[in-house]
């Protein structure tokens, strides 16, 4: 049994040693090289905004996307990187390898320990990262969310890509231009209970009531469930059921790509118009072969760029996140903070033959 006891002793001492090392609270908190530690700064930061303040150089700005390996966020984070380079800051991108609510928490903790000036994140869950973000705020970081918000009290600014009204206006305008302002149209949506899709479709119906669209008739809304095959079949079904159909709006990237694929291989190519929300990489060939005249999406790169500038403006004291605060975002111009600290990127970008090759996402 002596070997057993010795094993016990070795194990116990090593484990104790490890535990001691772990809890060796060498020093509390983190070292920060700038001294503006306004601990516990809430959403409405103390002090008034000074719109004339210069953007500080050397700001440490970290991007924490929903997950790495996601092309959308790769593009938006690179937009952020461009902005950080312009303001001579330090850019960093970190994130979990899969989009989960809990995995982002440990990254927020890491960033607050590293003494970041700004954390720009897209939340996998509106609540899960709140506690960690509040701790980071207390450690002196400014918090900007983009694309997917947290609860408003957990961040200072939310950079939203576009308003629902903006999407509805843009989609109806595009299809109206393409079909010459009159005729039957249909909508190809995702799932029947998709919150954002349904909100956009309701607003499109309102938009169609305007006098300039009086000759356009929405005949049906079809659902492709954001499934490529189902969307493809639904497009086929629409054209068989409505022989007079002039145009289709598909405000979902999966639906618009599937509809484009069906149309480009059918007799309706170029005759029945298609627009929607899609990515340039998915839609490039259909724009080039004449199936699609124009479609829209916000620019993820501009979204990241704007989020980085919003963070820099916060960290430099130009804005506090209060409604009405104004700041400049480099090449994108001036922005005003709206209600609840929301900043809107603006109307979606329209992609057509003339500009689609400038975009890679």
């Amino acid at each position: 049994m002596s070997a057993y006891r010795r094993g016990l002793r070795v194990g116990a001492t090593s484990l104790t040693l490890a535990a001691l090392l772990l809890s060796a609270a060498a020093c509390g908190g983190t070292t920060r090289d700038n001294s503006n530690n306004d601990a516990g700064a809430g959403n409405q930061a103390s002090g008034a905004a000074n719109p004339d303040a210069a953007i500080k150089e050397g700001l440490k700005i970290a991007f924490l996307p929903k997950a790495l390996n996601n092309p959308y966020f790769t593009v938006s984070d690179n937009g952020g990187k461009d902005a950080v380079t312009e303001i001579k800051g330090e850019f960093k991108e970190v994130g979990p390898s899969e989009a989960s609510a809990s995995s982002q928490v440990s990254y927020v903790n890491t960033l607050s320990q590293q003494g970041m000036d700004v954390i720009v994140t897209s939340a996998n869950d509106p609540n899960a990262i709140c506690g960690a973000l509040n701790q980071a705020k207390a450690a002196g970081a400014k918090i900007v969310t983009f694309d997917s918000d947290t609860k408003p009290e957990c961040r200072q600014i939310f950079v939203n890509q576009v308003t629902a009204e903006g999407i509805a206006e843009n989609q109806v305008k595009l299809i109206s231009q393409q079909i010459g302002g009159e005729g039957e149209i249909a909508i190809l949506s995702a799932t029947a209970n998709a919150t954002n899709q349904n909100a956009w479709i309701a607003l499109m119906k309102d938009e169609l009531k305007k006098p300039e669209y009086s000759k356009i008739k929405l005949v049906t809304v079809a659902y492709g469930n954001d499934d490529d095959q189902k969307s493809f079949q639904e497009t086929q079904g629409l054209l068989q059921s409505y022989p007079n159909l002039k145009g289709i709006i598909s405000p979902t990237t999966v639906g618009v790509a599937a509809a484009g694929r069906y149309l480009s291989g059918s007799q309706y190519k170029g005759k029945v118009k298609l627009t929607g929300l899609g990515t340039p990489n998915q839609m490039r060939q259909y724009v080039k072969d004449g199936t699609v005249d124009a479609f829209a999406l916000w620019s993820p790169a501009d979204l990241g760029y704007l989020a980085a500038y919003a963070g820099a403006a916060l960290a430099s004291g130009q804005i506090t996140g209060a409604e009405g605060d104004k700041f400049k975002a480099g090449k994108l111009g001036e922005f005003t903070v709206g209600k609840d600290g929301v900043v809107i990127l603006g109307p979606p970008t329209v992609f057509d033959k003339s500009n689609i090759d400038q975009f890679q996402f």
Binding site: S2, R6, V10, S14, C27, T30, E98, S102
Partner: protein, 351 residues
Amino acid sequence: MAHDSLYAAPPTAEAEPGAGRLASLRGLLGSWDAVIVAALVVAVLVASLTVENFATGRNAQFLLLDLMPLALIALPMTLIVITGEIDLSVASMVGLCSTLMGQLWLSSGLSLELICVLVVLLGAVLGAVNGLFVTGFGLPSLAVTIGTLALYRGLSFVVLGDQAVADFPADWTAAVVRNIPGTSIPVVVVPLLVLAVIFGVVLHATAAGRALYAMGNNDQAATFTGVSVARTKFWLFVVSGAVCGLVGILWTLRYASARGDNATGLELTVVTAVLLGGVSIFGGRGALLGVLAGVLLLGVLRNALQLADVDANALTIVTGSLLIASVVLPNAVADIRARLHRRRQRHPVAS
């Protein structure tokens, strides 16, 4: 708890009585959990010296909080794997218990204390279903729990859909991340330690524990010793479910969010930690101390690499490599020592 006789190493692992330094070194090599503990100490030392912000109280708190679910689930998993079975539905049970807790809080009007008790019981029921299929119908646990992995995850999305329940009382959500007063050690470490001691004592100091090893080595032989193999395994799955219920509660409160996708993928990390801790996937071999060291080692590596700004994809690669090494190395060491032993027998040295 490095009980040498539990290891399938050649008998030379038994050092002679009153052995010198060389023999104790040999004894060390013979027990994988001691190797893992040493690796943990080295990892902590290296990280403390090279990674900024690693050796701070705040980081210790974050590290231990992040490890809590993994460590808790690894306890029953260790016992299950030692008996030669496996439970791959653990993460899905955590997710389902989390959504059930959210749904009960949302619509039942019961007190949160009562809901927590119910959720642990529900976890036990989920575990009982696993146990019933494995022992009642004599099905392989690998197949059964892969099935319930999908089934329970699917059910957790039925319970809440893509919604999340988040309005838990603030004093509850704050309580699970609080530290023991005056230290930087989270209070949730206390229940972990209590459970670890219970599991450790059962496994290493009782007849029931020895029976678990016997089962892992040979079911039939275990039956002859008068142990009910089926009943024991059934209850192990029940305990696994109950612990997952507890983890579901802690997870939900820590992240203030009951969601269907909570803890997705955690089962593989648990299995990694258990194997890394020296438990044989074929059963019959392993110790709880090694598993706890394995859990800590995974956590320290992940935390330190993250602080050092190592890409998340690299973390996955490191975890995979560690697992392969933990399976290959003990066998290689045993092999080398067996060869040395044979050589010594051919050329005996007068001591």
